[in-house]
């Protein structure tokens, strides 16, 4: 591979990095505040994505960004609902029990979504994305291409994630989240309203994922497995980076799209690269996890008895 090709492959990974980091951030927020590995994250995002398309194509003539906000609101409320209705009431249940609850939610959403949005399943959004153009720009003396939509997705993800990290660091809510993550019952004793904190974390996770879903759904046919890869890779990113802190999984969510795009490069992996791209990425990530079982940035997890 030549240098411009390597650069271009990295540039090609940016949109995916944007989408996956958004989904991953949601997974970590939920894991840290409620000790739940949320298997419904991808589907909560999918519902929001369907809602955006439904609103923009069938319901209203409002500009797309208003519809996007509506879709994010749908996922926001759905995430909050899952926490308030189920996870909050399951606090005494083991983490694997909570995990199974989210699997149940996933099973419900996977079957209900295509029924609710029966009219728009398999629709694309023709003429309803922000832009279909391709942007060319020079980098280190080479010309690089990126779709404007992809760049927008990456840029928006970067801004939103920076805002979330700033909020975690500087706001009262962020302090509450970190306190809850450290020890929920102690946080409660110290006057943190953990109910509000967890509900808002779930809601925010839903909203972030819906934003990622919007960019995943731009230009592809909508179906209920839209966020399947994002969900699985988001989880693996968390394990790969290490579940123990907020930034580590984001590192994982940056690495995985890079592996994915290099694995899919026909000059590097042969003409059938596209066919085996997913497989190679999964194998590579699992091998990395095998080498770093506590995550790239993770500390050894010691359980107190």
């Amino acid at each position: 591979m030549s240098i411009p090709e390597i650069l271009q492959t990295i540039i090609n990974s940016l949109p995916m990095i944007g989408r996956y980091t958004l989904v991953t951030m949601g997974i970590v927020l939920i894991f840290r505040t409620t000790a739940t590995t949320n298997f419904a994250q991808g589907l909560i995002a999918t519902v929001g994505t369907f809602a955006v398309t439904w609103a923009s194509l069938l319901w209203t003539d409002l500009p797309l960004w208003v519809c996007l906000l509506m879709g994010i609101a749908v996922s926001f409320l759905l995430g909050m609902f899952v926490d308030v209705a189920l996870i909050r009431r399951a606090r005494h249940i083991t983490p694997s029990g909570k995990q199974m609850i989210t699997m149940g939610v996933m099973m419900i959403l996977v079957n209900v979504t295509p029924v609710i949005f029966r009219d728009i399943t398999l629709w694309t959004r023709p003429g309803k994305s922000f832009s279909t153009g391709i942007l060319s720009f020079p980098l280190l003396g080479h010309t690089m291409n990126i779709t404007e939509m992809g760049l927008l997705g990456f840029g928006l993800a970067a801004v939103v994630l920076a805002a979330v990290f700033a909020a975690l660091k500087f706001t009262k809510w962020g302090l509450g989240v970190r306190a809850t993550a450290a020890n929920e019952s102690v946080a409660q004793m110290l006057g943190v309203n953990t109910r509000v904190i967890t509900a808002f974390s779930w809601a925010l996770a839903g909203g972030l994922a819906a934003l990622g879903g919007f960019f995943t759904g731009a230009g592809t046919a909508l179906n209920v497995t839209l966020m399947g890869n994002a969900q699985v890779f988001g989880f693996l990113a968390c394990v790969l980076g290490g579940f123990g802190s907020f930034p580590a999984p984001i590192l994982g969510a940056v690495i995985i799209p890079l592996i994915y795009n290099f694995a899919g490069n026909p000059n590097l992996m042969g003409p059938n690269a596209g066919m085996w791209q997913n497989l190679i990425t999964f194998v590579a990530v699992l091998l990395l996890i095998l080498i770093f079982p506590n995550g790239l940035l993770g500390k050894k997890y010691i359980k107190k008895v």
């Binding site: 149940g104 079957n111 693996l236 394990v239 497989l279 996890i289 079982p293 506590n294």
Partner: protein
């Protein structure tokens, strides 16, 4: 004298009924009885679609029994089940189609061995990480299997699916007609199912099962008592893999068709649901759970137009049941039966 003899016999009958295997045998007898009724009534009742429904319940129950080791004994949730079932199925299809000279038993053993070998590799990877992350890693694993099934055209025939034309043993070796071979294979399936119930029950009551239970309740305490976490987690994983592989072989042999879409994450979730609903460790419960998750649709609901047109209703119900069981009724059907029994006893005592 006669009376004493009678009471002795009835006592023996009672103790036989109380034997833990009695329920397993009863299920087997009922399942074979269905097939015999079909033969006697010349296929009027139960219809062959109903029998096929029960056959698939048995196949899924076999996979479920393996899963009880992971979920019920070791307390681990895995989402890789579908991959191993698919592996067993595709190895069977490939071998029966391309190597006609190889006996069925060898194919079966080969499928089991490959499943076990891969299961061991995956087990080692999975066991290096914390219990609740196992589901995540095995989720990635099942994606790998899915990609393989979909793309390795020479081995799996890709998205078009693999099929075999004849029922193994009965049709190929004994030269039975297709209908007879299907009936015979059904009975073989019943025998395998009941046999595996007994084997699983005994393993669960053995020191292995107890060690796994100790590990589930507190891994640290189990370690302190000298139980090797790695050994028993790996064993639980391997056992569930072997059962899944066997389930795959049976899937291919009886249903004679499999496509990659059969082995998505929904399959693994359904198995998880079946075991959870049954009560995690109770084998009759697991069978009933498989019946609820996999059997009700093909056996009963297929004839009701509403459910035929809205297949999602039953899946949503299963999702709801998973949530309800985990949140409010962790014992599943087993707990339900025990509660009903207890309330009967209470009523009995009040009357007397």
């Amino acid at each position: 004298m006669q009376n004493a003899h009678d009471s002795q016999a009835s006592g023996r009958l009672k103790s036989a009924l109380r034997h833990p295997f009695a329920g397993f045998v009863l299920i087997g007898v009922l399942l074979i009885g269905l097939q015999l009724t079909a033969i006697l009534t010349d296929g009027a009742w139960p219809k062959s679609s109903m029998l096929n429904g029960f056959a698939s319940v048995m196949i899924y129950a076999i996979v479920g029994y393996g899963f009880t080791f992971l979920l019920g004994y070791a307390g681990l949730a895995s989402l890789g089940t579908a991959g191993f079932v698919g592996l067993g199925a595709y190895i069977t299809a490939y071998a029966l189609k391309n190597m006609p000279g190889v006996p069925y038993v060898v194919v079966l053993l080969a499928a089991l061995l490959v499943s076990l070998a891969l299961g061991a590799i995956v087990g080692f990877i999975s066991l290096r990480i914390e219990g609740i992350f196992l589901a995540i890693v095995t989720l990635g694993l099942s994606e790998i299997f899915y990609q393989l099934f979909n793309n390795w055209l020479d081995f799996t025939n890709g998205p078009n699916g693999a099929s075999i034309s004849k029922y193994p043993i009965f049709q190929t070796l004994l030269g039975m007609s297709r209908q007879d071979a299907q009936k015979a294979f059904y009975i073989l399936l019943v025998i395998i199912t009941v046999g595996l119930m007994m084997l699983t029950y005994n393993l669960g009551k053995s020191s292995t099962g107890r060690a796994m239970l100790a590990m589930k309740n507190s891994s640290s305490a189990a370690q302190a008592m000298g139980i090797s976490l790695l050994k028993y987690r790996l064993l639980a994983f391997l056992l569930s893999t072997a059962y899944a592989g066997l389930g795959g072989v049976m899937f291919m042999s009886y249903l004679r068709f499999s496509a990659p879409q059969n082995y998505t994450i929904m399959f693994s979730l359904n198995i998880l649901a079946a075991v959870l609903i049954g009560g995690s460790r109770n084998l009759i419960g697991t069978f009933m759970g498989s019946f609820i998750v996999f059997g009700i649709t093909p056996i009963f609901l297929q004839d009701i137009p509403f459910f035929r047109e809205n297949p999602w209703v039953i899946n949503v119900t299963i999702g709801l049941i998973i949530i309800l069981v985990v949140m409010f009724y962790p014992g599943g059907l087993t707990q339900l039966v025990n509660n009903v029994k207890a309330s009967f006893k209470k009523a009995d005592r009040r009357l007397s």
